[in-house]
């Protein structure tokens, strides 16, 4: 049974409206093979989409793109502030409480500031921000792009010789490249504040000592690595969402599937990339 899964880059348009149909098979090896090839193809297309979006970045200087980018910064960033504030504060509070309880056994609870700050900067800040944005902004982008594909709006843009990657992907990419590190930094501040409140009220750690330890133990490298992670997570979220949205077929069901796949793939990518960066800088 010949299965046409290897086809040229020319055929592999990033925005495809020519779905490939494969005959059903009960052979698990064929199914596995198709899934692996499909995953590689998706990853390749996502990278191509990213490359094309980066090539379009200079057009962000035009008035319309600038306005759209600022709008996307507001939609993706500012509107996520509430949920990030709540999640980051409680994460900091939990971190402080858990580490503080253990450290109190050794009389070292005064150092919870350092523990919370380092954890938030290195891992929890970018990680939580990434997950929240993947679930809220990523899913929303995928649903919007998917609906635009289904209702032929993307085709209309292409026929007007308006590059959908420049018009739709690039402003979102730039917005998230800026907003994700900023939100990550903000979540770190909120986490440290939350931890400080718990330290003060539950563990009798003075605010000044808490902040002093937090600042003393944190290094520039922690901040840099955290921001780097957040920056990459922003790219992952937008490219995954746009790629999945553009690949939507089968109407409303397809839009739902694209949204679901965006969240799952963004979560997995964030975890894997987060680990790899930690491994790169701290081992």
């Amino acid at each position: 049974m010949a299965v046409d899964v290897f086809y040229s880059l020319e055929e592999q348009a990033i925005i495809t409206r020519e779905p490939r149909f494969f005959p059903p098979t009960a052979d698990w090896r064929s199914q596995l093979g198709r899934k692996v090839v499909g995953a590689c193809r998706d990853a390749g297309r996502a990278v191509l989409l990213l490359a094309e979006a980066i090539l379009c970045i200079r057009s962000v200087l035009t008035r319309r793109s600038r306005r759209e980018t600022i709008h996307q910064m507001f939609v993706g960033g500012i509107k996520s502030l509430t949920v990030i504030t709540v999640v980051a504060s409680f994460t900091g509070m939990i971190l402080a409480l858990q580490t503080g309880i253990e450290m109190r056994r050794f009389g070292q609870e005064v150092y919870i500031g350092a523990a919370v700050m380092v954890s938030m900067l290195r891992e929890m800040g970018p990680f939580m921000t990434g997950l929240i944005l993947a679930a809220s902004v990523g899913s929303s982008i995928a649903a919007q792009m998917g609906t635009m594909v289904v209702s032929e709006e993307i085709a209309a843009l292409e026929l007007m010789s308006i590059n959908p990657v420049r018009y739709l992907v690039m402003p979102r990419l730039v917005a998230m490249m800026i907003m994700t590190p900023l939100l990550s930094f903000y979540s770190c501040i909120m986490g440290v504040m939350g931890g400080g409140i718990v330290g003060m009220t539950q563990l009798n750690v003075p605010w000044a000592a808490y902040i002093d330890n937090a600042v003393r133990f944190a290094e520039n490298k922690d901040l840099f690595v955290g921001m780097l992670k957040a920056f990459l997570f922003g790219i992952i979220i937008v490219i995954t969402a746009c790629h999945q949205g553009f690949a939507t077929t089968q109407g409303a069901v397809g839009v739902g599937n694209a949204t679901r796949r965006t969240v799952i793939m963004s979560f997995l990518s964030i975890l894997i990339v987060g680990y790899m960066i930690t491994r790169l800088f701290y081992v």
């Binding site: 020519e18 209309a156 007007m160 308006i162």
Partner: protein, 253 residues
């Protein structure tokens, strides 16, 4: 102007287009009719390379569109205006901004010049008073008319219409028909119209093609089309209560 040469397109196990040969002549309005799911919209999509044939080729003004890419494809597409079935309007832009979009993105016209063209085209489709509304605030028929205004705002040489009158009230349908006629007669625009509405097809078409099971089974001028002996054509005509009593004549021709 447009030639489809032996175009075959498979979707799944089915040949949606099965060796279609079709020529669209400059300045004519070719109407493609046929039952649902026989490949009418797919044929239109091949003309602007939203789809690529598995076999055969599509030629527009001597350029092979089915093999074009990048800037070459853009230049070919610039000759076209396309009205999609749903209108394909961007939801976050107002009616006026939707119509202005191709001018804003592709030309260096001033805002005043763009808006004057937008108002003119909106007036042509009877929506000059709805310019500030958003797509969510207007009916399906109005969306389609906005889509038409957007398709013609750049004064393209060729306009493709995918079901231009479906979902429209009879008065709006006839207005769209008149507009298609006007564009052909006054401006020499070449049009390809996909429709189920034979009344509309007979009224606006200079030639009518019947597409069934991926093949063109009839291609004739309206007066000949209604007399066709092809069974599917007769069924199609009868289903829309069109019968030939003596000589069928098209008004105004």
């Amino acid at each position: 102007m447009i030639q489809l040469e032996n175009v075959t397109k498979r979707l799944g196990a089915r040949n949606v287009l099965d060796g279609v040969n079709l020529e669209v002549r400059k300045g004519e309005t070719l109407v493609i009719v046929g039952p649902s799911g026989t490949g009418k919209s797919v044929t239109l999509k091949h003309m602007v390379r939203l789809m690529t044939p598995d076999e055969g080729r599509v030629v527009v003004d001597g350029q092979v569109v089915s093999e074009a890419s990048g800037r070459g494809l853009e230049l070919i597409r610039d000759k076209f205006g396309v009205l999609f079935q749903s209108g394909a309007l961007l939801e976050w832009l107002s009616v006026a901004e939707n119509v202005a979009l191709p001018l804003r993105e592709k030309t260096k016209l001033s805002n005043d010049e763009i808006m004057s063209k937008v108002v003119e085209k909106l007036a042509m489709v009877g929506l000059e008073n709805d310019a500030e509304k958003f797509p969510a605030e207007i009916s399906g028929g109005m969306r389609k008319r906005v889509g038409l205004a957007r398709a013609i705002v750049t004064n393209p040489e060729i306009i493709l219409y995918d079901e231009p009158t479906s979902g429209l009230d009879p008065v709006s349908s006839r207005m769209i028909d008149r507009l298609i006629e006007h564009l052909r007669k006054e401006l020499g625009v070449t049009s390809v119209v996909v429709t189920h509405d034979l009344h509309s097809a007979l009224s606006i078409g200079t030639r009518i093609a019947m597409l069934t099971q991926g093949k063109i089974i009839e291609l004739a001028e309206p007066a000949e089309f209604v007399k066709s002996q092809v069974e599917e054509v007769q069924l199609f005509l009868e289903a829309q209560f069109i019968t030939v009593r003596g000589e069928w004549e098209k008004n105004g021709k």
